[in-house]
C-alpha cells in the first residue's frame, strides 16, 4: 500500500479564523477517498493547502514521500497532482481542446504541444466532450464547463486528482454520468480525493471517508462506519436523538 | 538638525494634501476595483480650475475651492458614464486602457490650449515663524483644508445613508444590489467623489507650487505610492500614507536634487510592492 498523499498535523489560520486544525490522514494509492463535512468545515481550504495555493502554518504534506509543504502550485502540478475547482475556472477565450492542451503541456509529463493535444483528446473522450472540442469555453453550459474542468485536470495525466464538488449544480442524469466518469478515471490508475455534498453519491463512490468539522478530523473509515458515527450525525443533524427519532418515523 | 526637522514638518503639511489626492484614487479603486488613470489629469484640471477662477473672478484662490470640488464631482460622474460604466466587471486591463485613453485626450487637449507653459497662482499669507524657520501660511492652510475635506469624506462615508450604501457596494456589489441598493448610481457617485477629491487636491497644490499641463503625471505617481503605503480602498490609510510620503520627502529633499526625488519615490514604490504585493497596510478589499 503506497501512500500517495500524507497530511501530518497540518494547520492553517486566517487572522482569527482557524480554518484547518492539526489535520492528519493518508490517501492510499488507487483508492477514492471522500472528504465530507458541513459547509465551512475547511474542505476547500484543505485542497488549497495541498496544491500550494496557501502554505500551511504548521505541519507537513508529502506526495509520494516528497515534501510538498508550501511548494508553488506549478511545481506541485509537475509532480503529478491535478485539481478541479468548486467554482469552475475555464480559460474562457480558448477552446475545449486548447484548455485541455494546457493541462497536458504543463502537467506531470510536461508534454510537447503535439503529444499534449493527443492527451487532451483522450481526456476529452473520457469526460464525454468530444462533440464540443472546438467550442470556446465561453459558450459552454455549466455542466459542460464542469466536464471541461475535469477533462483539463485529466489531460495532465496526474497520479492524484483532487475533485472539489464536481457534482454540484448537475441534474440527476448528469450526476449519474459524472459518477461513471469518476469510476473510469480510477480504473485507469488515478487516485482520487473527492469533496462532495451529495451524500448518496460520495458514499457509494468512496472506498473510505474522512469527515471534517471546524477544520478538524471528526471521523475516518469506511462509509458505513462513518455514517453511523454519532458525532458525524450530530454535526450534520445537530442531535443524534433527533436523528434516531427521524429515522424511526421515516 | 533643526533644519531637517523643519523640512520634515513642512513635508507633513504638504503630505496631507498628497493624502487627499490619494483618497480620490483609492476611493474609486476600493468601490469598483478600477484604477483611474485620468487621476493625474484631474489633479491638473483642479489646478487650472483654480487658476482660471482666481484670475477671472479676482477672488482669493481659496474661494475657488468649493466650485472646483463641485465641478470635479460632475466631471467624475461624466467620466464614469463615458469610460468606466461598461468596464465594470470586465478584466481590469480594460478599465486601465479606457481611463488611459481619456487621459491621453485630456492632456493632449490641454497641451494644445496651454502648451507646456508654467502657471502660478499668487497666494500671500502670513507664515508661522518658529525660531529661524518659517512655515509658509499657504502650506498650513492647505494642510488644514485637506484635513477638513478628508473629515467631510469620512463623515459622508460613515454617517450618511448614501455613504453607507457606498461602503456596501464596495464590500459586495452583488449583495448590495440584492438588497435594493441602486449600484450603478452609487458607482457614479463614487467616481464623482474620487475626481472631486483629485481636483480639490490639485487646487490646493496649485496654491503651493507652480504647475504645467504635464504636472499631473508626477502627482499621479505620488498618489499611487501613497496608496501602496496606505492600503488600497482605504481612505484613512491614504491620508496616513500621504503624511508618510510627505515626511519622507521632507527628510530627503535637503540632500538630493529635485529631479531625483521622483525617481527615488518610484524606486520605493516598486520595492514596497515587490515586498508587500498588497501594500503595507493590506486591508481587505472593500473595507472602506
Amino acid at each position: 500500500m503506497t501512500a500517495v498523499l500524507e497530511l501530518d498535523h497540518v494547520s492553517k489560520r486566517f487572522g482569527g479564523l482557524q480554518a484547518v486544525r492539526d489535520l492528519s490522514f493518508t490517501v492510499r494509492e488507487g483508492e477514492i477517498l471522500g472528504l465530507i463535512g458541513p459547509n465551512g468545515a475547511g474542505k476547500s481550504t484543505l485542497f488549497n493547502l495541498i496544491n500550494g495555493v496557501y502554505a500551511p502554518n504548521s505541519g507537513r504534506i508529502a506526495f509520494y514521500g516528497i515534501d510538498i509543504t508550501g511548494a508553488k502550485p506549478h511545481v506541485i502540478a509537475r509532480h503529478g497532482l491535478a485539481r478541479t475547482h468548486q467554482i469552475v475556472q475555464p480559460l474562457i477565450n480558448m477552446t475545449v481542446l486548447e484548455n485541455c492542451a494546457v493541462g497536458g503541456c504543463f502537467g506531470r509529463e510536461n508534454l510537447p504541444l503535439s503529444l499534449a493535444h493527443q492527451a487532451a483528446r483522450e481526456a476529452i473522450a473520457v469526460a464525454g466532450l468530444e462533440d464540443r472540442m472546438e467550442t470556446l469555453a465561453l459558450h459552454l453550459t455549466i455542466a459542460a464547463k464542469k466536464r471541461l474542468e475535469l477533462a483539463r485536470a485529466l489531460a495532465a495525466q496526474p497520479k492524484l486528482l483532487l475533485l472539489d464538488e464536481v457534482l454540484a449544480g448537475l441534474n440527476p442524469t448528469e450526476v449519474e454520468h459524472m459518477i461513471g466518469v469518476i469510476r473510469r478515471i480510477r480504473d485507469r490508475g488515478v487516485t482520487i480525493l473527492i469533496i462532495e455534498h451529495l451524500m448518496q453519491a460520495i458514499m457509494s463512490l468512496s472506498d473510505r471517508i474522512v469527515v471534517l468539522n471546524f477544520g478538524e478530523k471528526l471521523a475516518e473509515g469506511l462509509p458505513a462506519e462513518v455514517a453511523a458515527h454519532p458525532q458525524v450525525v450530530e454535526a450534520y443533524l445537530g442531535d443524534p436523538k433527533l436523528a434516531a427519532e427521524l429515522e424511526g418515523n421515516a | 538638525m533643526l533644519g531637517i526637522l523643519a523640512s520634515i514638518i513642512d513635508g507633513v503639511l504638504v503630505g496631507l494634501v498628497y493624502g487627499l489626492a490619494a483618497m480620490g484614487l483609492t476611493l474609486i479603486w476600493g468601490v469598483m476595483d478600477v484604477i483611474n488613470l485620468t487621476h493625474g489629469a484631474m489633479i491638473v484640471a483642479g489646478m487650472f480650475g483654480l487658476y482660471l477662477l482666481a484670475s477671472a473672478l479676482g477672488l482669493s484662490p481659496y474661494f475657488a475651492l468649493p466650485p472646483v470640488l463641485v465641478g470635479g464631482f460632475f466631471v467624475g460622474v461624466a467620466l464614469y458614464w463615458v469610460a468606466i460604466h461598461r468596464m465594470v466587471g470586465r478584466p481590469p486591463l480594460m478599465s486601465l486602457l479606457s481611463t488611459f485613453a481619456v487621459n491621453l485626450v485630456l492632456i493632449g487637449l490641454g497641451t494644445a490650449v496651454w502648451g507646456t507653459a508654467l502657471f502660478n497662482v499668487e497666494v500671500s499669507l502670513p507664515g508661522l515663524s518658529l525660531g529661524r524657520y518659517t512655515f509658509p501660511g499657504a502650506h498650513i492652510l492647505a494642510a488644514g483644508l485637506a484635513a477638513v475635506i478628508a473629515a467631510t469624506l469620512y463623515f459622508f462615508l460613515h454617517k450618511t445613508r448614501t455613504g453607507k450604501a457606498l461602503r456596501a457596494v464596495a464590500n459586495n456589489r452583488e449583495a448590495a444590489e440584492l438588497v435594493g441598493i441602486p449600484t450603478t448610481r452609487l458607482l457614479a457617485i463614487a467616481v464623482g467623489c474620487g475626481v472631486a477629491l483629485a481636483g480639490g487636491a490639485g487646487a490646493l497644490i496649485g496654491t503651493l507650487f507652480p504647475f504645467t499641463v504635464l504636472s499631473g503625471d508626477g502627482y499621479q505617481l505620488k498618489s499611487f505610492i501613497v496608496t501602496v503605503l496606505g492600503g488600497f480602498g482605504n481612505p484613512v490609510g491614504a491620508l496616513m500614507g500621504g503624511v508618510a510620503l510627505g515626511l519622507l520627502e521632507g527628510a530627503v529633499t535637503p540632500f538630493v536634487p529635485v529631479s531625483w526625488t521622483l525617481v527615488i519615490e518610484f524606486a520605493l514604490f516598486v520595492l514596497v510592492l515587490v515586498a508587500f504585493p498588497g501594500g503595507i497596510f493590506a486591508s481587505r478589499r472593500g473595507a472602506l
Partner: protein
C-alpha cells in the same frame, strides 16, 4: 510552421517591403515604409506581453531608447561596427530586461503597468545625468561612421533593409511563439493567471522570458533608428508617445493576433500621416490616439481581427 499558409503571407509582406521601394529607387516610399516597419516591430513585440500574457507594458519605449543609446555609444565612443553594436544593444537590453522583469513581473496587472512607466522615467533620468552619454544634450555621431557602410546614401538603404529584417523577425517571432507550447502557456496566463499556475504553467519564468524577448528586436530597431538620424537625446529616446501608439496599434488591429498588429500599424500610420497634414498641432496626435483607443476599448475590444473573425470564421485558421 513552414507548411502553413500564414508563414508565406508574412514572407509576401516582407518581400513587398523590401523590394518595392528598392526597384523604383523611391526614397520617399522607403522612408514611409521604414516608419511603418518600426511601428510593426514595436507593436508586434509589445503584443507578446499585452496580447498573449495580458500585461500592459506602458513603457516599452525604454527598450527602443536604451537600445538606441547602447548602439550609438558602441559605434561612436568605442568604434564598433554597426552590426556588432546592434547585437550588443539587443543582448544588453534583453539581459537588463530579464533582471528587471523578474522583479516587476511579480506585480499584478495594474501595478506592473504603472511600474513600466516608472522604469522609463528612471532610465531617462539616468541618461540625462550620465556624462559618457552626453547627458541631456545627447550624442551626435560623426559622419565618419557611414564610410564603412559605403557612404551616407548607401548606408540609408542598408539600414532600411535591416529595419525590414527586424520587422520580419518580429512577425515570425510572434507567430512562432503563438503556435508553441510557450505561447500556449502565455495565453493561459492572460486568461487566468491563477488557474494557469495550478495547471502547471511556470508563470514567473514565462512572464520574465516574454518580457525579455519583447525587448530584443525593439532594442535593435532603436539602434537602427537613432543611428540613421545620427543623433540621440533623452527626450526623444524615451518619449512615451511611441509606446503609447504601439498600444493603440495592438488594440486597433486586434491584440493577440499577428496579422492584426501589422494591419493596425499600417492603418494607424496612414491615419496619422493624413491628420498631421490637416491639423497643425502635434499634440493632436495623442488626442486622436486616445479617442481611437477609447472607442476600441469600449466598442471593439477585439479590434479589427475580432471583427474579421466574426464575419469570416474560416480566416481564424489562415490569419493568425
Amino acid at each position: 510552421m513552414v507548411r502553413r499558409p500564414f508563414f508565406w503571407i508574412i514572407a509576401l509582406v516582407v518581400a513587398v517591403f523590401a523590394l518595392v521601394p528598392a526597384i523604383g529607387n523611391d526614397v520617399e516610399l522607403r522612408e514611409s515604409l521604414a516608419l511603418a516597419a518600426v511601428y510593426i516591430t514595436l507593436a508586434s513585440n509589445l503584443n507578446l506581453m499585452l496580447g498573449y500574457a495580458g500585461y500592459i507594458n506602458f513603457g516599452s519605449i525604454v527598450f527602443f531608447g536604451l537600445g538606441g543609446y547602447i548602439c550609438i555609444w558602441l559605434v561612436d565612443a568605442n568604434g564598433w561596427s554597426l552590426a556588432l553594436s546592434l547585437l550588443g544593444a539587443g543582448i544588453g537590453v534583453s539581459a537588463l530586461s530579464l533582471v528587471f522583469g523578474f522583479g516587476i513581473l511579480r506585480l499584478r496587472g495594474p501595478f506592473f503597468a504603472l511600474s513600466t512607466i516608472g522604469i522609463v522615467e528612471g532610465v531617462q533620468a539616468f541618461a540625462e545625468n550620465f556624462g559618457p552619454w552626453g547627458g541631456s544634450s545627447g550624442i551626435y555621431i560623426s559622419p565618419q561612421v557611414f564610410l564603412p557602410l559605403g557612404g551616407a546614401a548607401r548606408a540609408l538603404w542598408l539600414i532600411y533593409f535591416m529595419l525590414v529584417a527586424a520587422m520580419a523577425a518580429s512577425l515570425y517571432l510572434s507567430y512562432a511563439i503563438k503556435v508553441s507550447k510557450f505561447g500556449l502557456g502565455l495565453i493561459a496566463i492572460g486568461q487566468n493567471e491563477d488557474a494557469a499556475a495550478i495547471l502547471g504553467v511556470p508563470t514567473s519564468r514565462y512572464k520574465a522570458l516574454a518580457y525579455s524577448a519583447s525587448a530584443f528586436l525593439p532594442a535593435i530597431t532603436g539602434g537602427l533608428y537613432f543611428f540613421k538620424g545620427a543623433f540621440i537625446q533623452p527626450s526623444d529616446a524615451f518619449d512615451l508617445t511611441l509606446s503609447t501608439e504601439a498600444i493603440v496599434i495592438c488594440m486597433l488591429g486586434g491584440q493577440g493576433t499577428v496579422t492584426g498588429v501589422a494591419l493596425g500599424a499600417y492603418l494607424y500610420e496612414e491615419l496619422r500621416g493624413y491628420l498631421l497634414t490637416t491639423a497643425t498641432f502635434s499634440n493632436f496626435q495623442l488626442v486622436i490616439a486616445g479617442a481611437l483607443l477609447l472607442i476600441i476599448v469600449l466598442f471593439f475590444p477585439s479590434g479589427l481581427m475580432g471583427w474579421i473573425y466574426s464575419r469570416f470564421p474560416r480566416m481564424k485558421r489562415v490569419l493568425e
